[in-house]
Structure formats: C-alpha cells, structure tokens
C-alpha cells in the first residue's frame, strides 16, 4: 500500500473533522488522529498511523487539560477543546512528559490561555526551558511528585512520578474519583483508529507489544518500579497518550507490562536457563567475523582463555551465521560482549556495525565490552569498535587486542590472556586481594596495544 499523506482520503478528512469524545463523566478526549504517519521518531514503523491523545477534565472548580498534540495537528486539538471548554475555564495544564509530540500545541495554548498553570514533574523544568526557549514569555509552573494532588473542586488529580517511561520527566496522572489513569506513553501504542476505544478498534495487540519493545524496553527496571505505583490503583479506564483508550479490561494492559518487563525479549519466561535462580553464571558473548580464519582463531583462543575462569558461561557466535534480532535479545541478558573483526579498508566490517547500531532498544549500561581482530595493513577496526562500545555506555576495561595477519602460537597465548582478563574483569578477580593497591600511571593507558607487544598493558606496580 502506498503511504498517503494527510488529507488524502475521505476517511482521513472525516477523522480530522471529528468531535471531542466523552470517555468518562466530565472527561473528554480532545486529541488528534494522524493516520498518514508511517514512521515515528525514525525508530518505529507505524502501519496505520498514530494518535496524539489529549484530555480535558471538567471539575466544579475549573478545567484541567492533560497533554496536547504535535504542532502540525494543533488546529484539530483546539477545535475539539473549544467544543468542551472555553479557554478562560482552563485552570491547569498537566504535561505527563515534555516530548514534542505531546507538547507541540503548548506554546499556542499558553498564548490563548495565559492564566493556566503548568503542572510538570520534578525532573521537567530543564526540559521545559529547552522546549519553550527564552523567546517565550515568562510562564508559571508547579512541580509535582508521587502522591501530590491538585483539586478541581469536586474531583482531584493525583500524580505518580514514573521516571524514564520513556523520558526522564515522565509522570502519570490519576483522576481519583473516576479511577481514570492518564498514563502518558505508558500503555500507549501507535495505532490510529477513529473508533478510539479498545473494545471498538481493530486488533492492536501487535502494536501494543511493538511499542513496548521499542519505547519502554530499554527502561524495563523503571517499568517495574512504575508498576509498583500503578498496580495498587483501582482502574476503571486507562487513557494513554497514543493509541486506543483502554476502557474494557484495563488491568489486562497493566498485567501485560508486568509480563513484558519480567521477560527477556523473545525468550519466553518459561524458557529458563538450566541453572537455579541465584546460581546463574556470568555470561560473556563473543561475536566475530573472519575473512581468512585469523580472527576466528583469535575468537576461539579468547573463548578458551575466558573459560579458564570459573563461574562464567561463554558463548561464541559467527555474525555471518545469524540474524540481528535474536542476537539483540542475547546481548540484553549478557554481562559482557567481545567483538572480533578484521580491518577492511580501514574499517570494521558491516555486520559488526549493523549489530552495534541495533542496540537502541535495550539497556547496555554496566556491561563490559571488548574488541579484537586480525588485520593486514593498519588495524583500525579494533579501536573503532571500542569507541563505539564506549559510546554505547559499556565499560571497556581490557584494552583491545589486534594482530597482523596469521596468529603465531605466542599471539594466540596473548588472545587467551585477553579472554582471561575479560573474564576476571567480569568476576571481579582482576584485583587480587592479596596484593597491594594497584596504581596505574596515566602514561601507561595507551588504549590500543599490539597483540605481539606485552600482553599486560594494564601493567601495574605496587605502592611503595
């Protein structure tokens, strides 16, 4: 199917002319449909577009707005807003997070309703300033944290601080009396269907899981923290910032987040490793590619060296023989990664970069990285991979190892030593407790030693 732009089909025009929709007593959906969108933020495909959900909550003491829409669709938002409230009735504007697809209409809204007070999370001020920039007039805001409430007279908004779902400033807003959770991007998905409610729209389960996998998965520990706040709430309805409004069995979606944040990618929870809980060995995965077998031999020697350290499970994969997606799942669960690549025309080879540019969906923080490889002329691949690993926030405690063309027996010894050093960095044996405190001289920290040179570049000396 071709990708129609906005306003191309009769159905899309009908959607754009739509009305505000009451989703609970005194609560209206005033968002915008974006059926023509086929790609979101460069990382998500959106086969039937998306919605930007904004809401208006009417209390006896004024109107609260929850989020806005992206700038291009501001007209739709204001048209729907004006059906349910006048601008001077708006008392507060709650921003569940400040991403531009939900704050695009904010500058215009602040111009039209200058009396409205912004309600943002405690992590949001710096981002708000960056978003509105100093050209905007001075604006007033109030910071809220978990448990804080704002009264609209006969109803209250209570806030849940849920950082990193998926922005640092993310919060959820709970309408206490109606048991409605305005969840921001949490429980959202890119799925555009003007029927709006989860029991009316098409089957969006794929979109729901796909959205989680690309937006929330890097922050799964934070998802579990947020669920501790959300799960105890009585829930009649979840009103997320994208996709269908979840009025039928809303708790099912909370349970789904619990399931997704507890499992490791495509590995089903029931597919356990053959180890008891708490007895799981640290996992090192070695990925390599080889043109003439030299880097293969290095990889095998690195594996042998690492396996000489007890308490470790080492896996060896030729990148030529695998798909990216399952490797990403493996990497998410690994403790350390080593990449072996030859150097071709001054660069590491493409399958390495393909894999290393596919890790945006998982958290790599705290993992250990390492690089090695054989080369013919210049050997740039190893330092380039190490730079990329550091850029991905891995630690690279063992300097990379490279050798020219065919490995000799002593160079393979160095490869085994390299593997052992990685393993020791993983198991914490790198600093034997019986020696005096290690002190390295800064000048010794040459990052790219040759394999043939002294293998112990982390040369240490004892304190006098």
């Amino acid at each position: 199917m071709s990708s129609p732009g906005p306003e191309q089909t009769r159905e899309q025009i009908a959607v754009r002319d739509g009305n505000a929709v009451e989703i609970a007593p005194g609560v209206h959906w005033i968002g915008a449909f974006d059926p023509g969108l086929r790609n979101f933020d460069m990382i998500l495909r959106t086969a039937n577009g998306t919605t930007y959900n904004a809401y208006a909550v009417r209390g006896s003491d004024g109107v609260a707005l929850i989020d806005t829409v992206k700038a291009e669709l501001a007209d739709d938002f204001f048209a729907r807003l004006e059906q349910v409230a006048t601008l001077d009735e708006i008392r507060v504007i709650v921003l569940n997070h400040l991403e531009p697809d939900h704050t695009g209409a904010l500058p215009e809204l602040l111009r039209r309703a200058p009396q409205a007070r912004l309600i943002i999370s405690k992590r949001a001020p710096a981002m708000l300033k960056a978003l509105l920039k100093p050209t905007e007039d001075q604006f007033d805001y109030e910071l809220v944290d978990t448990g804080d409430e704002i009264s609209l007279g006969d109803r209250r908004l209570r806030f849940l601080n849920t950082p990193y779902l998926h922005w640092p400033d993310t919060q959820c807003t709970y309408l206490v009396e109606q048991q409605v959770l305005f969840s921001g991007d949490v429980f959202g998905c890119h799925y555009c269907d003007p029927r709006l409610f989860n029991d009316r729209v098409g089957d969006f389960r794929f979109s729901f899981d796909y959205y989680y996998a690309h937006i929330m998965r890097p922050f799964k520990a934070h998802v579990r923290d947020a669920l501790k706040l959300i799960e105890p709430l009585p829930l009649k309805l979840i009103a997320p910032a994208h996709g269908p409004v979840l009025r039928e069995r809303p708790r099912r979606y909370v349970t789904r987040y619990r399931e997704l944040s507890s499992s490791g990618g495509s590995f089903d929870q029931s597919f356990d490793q053959p180890f008891d809980a708490g007895d799981q060995p640290a996992s090192l995965i070695i990925f390599y590619l080889s043109a003439y077998g030299s880097t293969t031999r290095m990889a095998e020697a690195v594996q042998a060296g690492a396996e000489s350290v007890p308490g470790l499970r080492v896996s060896l994969y030729d990148l030529e023989g695998g798909e990216i997606a399952p490797f990403v799942d493996l990497i998410e669960q690994a403790d350390a990664l080593a990449f072996g690549s030859p150097t071709v025309n001054g660069d590491a080879v493409k399958p390495i970069w393909d894999l290393l540019s596919s890790l945006v969906g998982i958290s790599l923080r705290g993992k250990i990285g390492a690089a090695f490889g054989s080369y013919g002329w210049s050997g740039e691949a190893v330092p380039m991979i190490e730079d990329r690993l550091r850029g991905l926030k891995l630690r690279v405690p063992v300097p990379g190892l490279r050798l020219k063309l065919t490995p000799t027996a002593s160079e393979l010894d160095n490869c085994r030593d390299f593997g052992r050093q990685i393993a020791e960095a993983m198991t914490g044996d790198a600093n034997p407790p019986d020696t005096a405190k290690r002190v390295i001289d800064f000048a010794e920290l040459s990052p790219y030693p040759e394999a043939g040179a002294s293998s112990s570049k982390l040369a240490t000396r004892s304190e006098p």
Binding site: K122, R438, I440
Partner: protein, 94 residues
C-alpha cells in the same frame, strides 16, 4: 609536573595523573563506570560522586553549578567532564 592520584571506587582502580587533567579523560581510558554524553558540561550525564578529596578538584563553574542543580545533584556531586584533578581524590558514578 605535579601529579595526583585519582581512584575510581567502582572498579577499585587508582591512576597517577598529571595535575589539571579532567576526570573524564582518565575514567574513559581506564574503563570506569562513569558515563558521558555531550562532554561539554551541558547534559549532566557524566555526573559523579566525589567520595574523598572533593576540594582536590577545581571549583565548579557557574554553568556547572546550574547543570548540577537542574539534575538534582546531591552534595559533592560533580560533572566528570568539567572537574579537573588538582590533588588526590576518589570518585564513583553518581
């Protein structure tokens, strides 16, 4: 040239460095757990906690103070890309 010792507590590693060098220039090379983003004192990613010797780092600039405040830094937190080592100190990721 004056020397100083910086210890990265998370990896229990001490490095002898020439005085005046920025913490990030050492932590990167040694593979300590401090992570970095813009490297220009703007994003706050490289925030670290100074365990010992906080007055052996250069004073934070007005801009660094601002970024620390915005990132809700606690006492003795600094940006590794801004703080220069002038004496012995111990740091760890914030």
């Amino acid at each position: 040239m004056a020397k100083a010792k910086v210890t990265f507590q998370d990896i229990d590693q001490t490095v002898n460095v020439p005085a005046g060098i920025r913490v990030i220039d050492v932590s990167e090379k040694i593979g300590a757990g401090i992570i970095y983003g813009c490297r220009e004192g703007d994003c706050g990613t490289c925030m670290m906690h100074v365990v010992e010797g906080w007055n052996n780092l250069t004073e934070p600039s007005v801009l660094e103070e601002k970024v620390l405040r915005e990132n809700m830094a606690s006492r003795h937190d600094r940006l590794a890309c801004q703080a220069q080592i002038i004496g012995d100190c111990t740091v760890k990721p914030a």
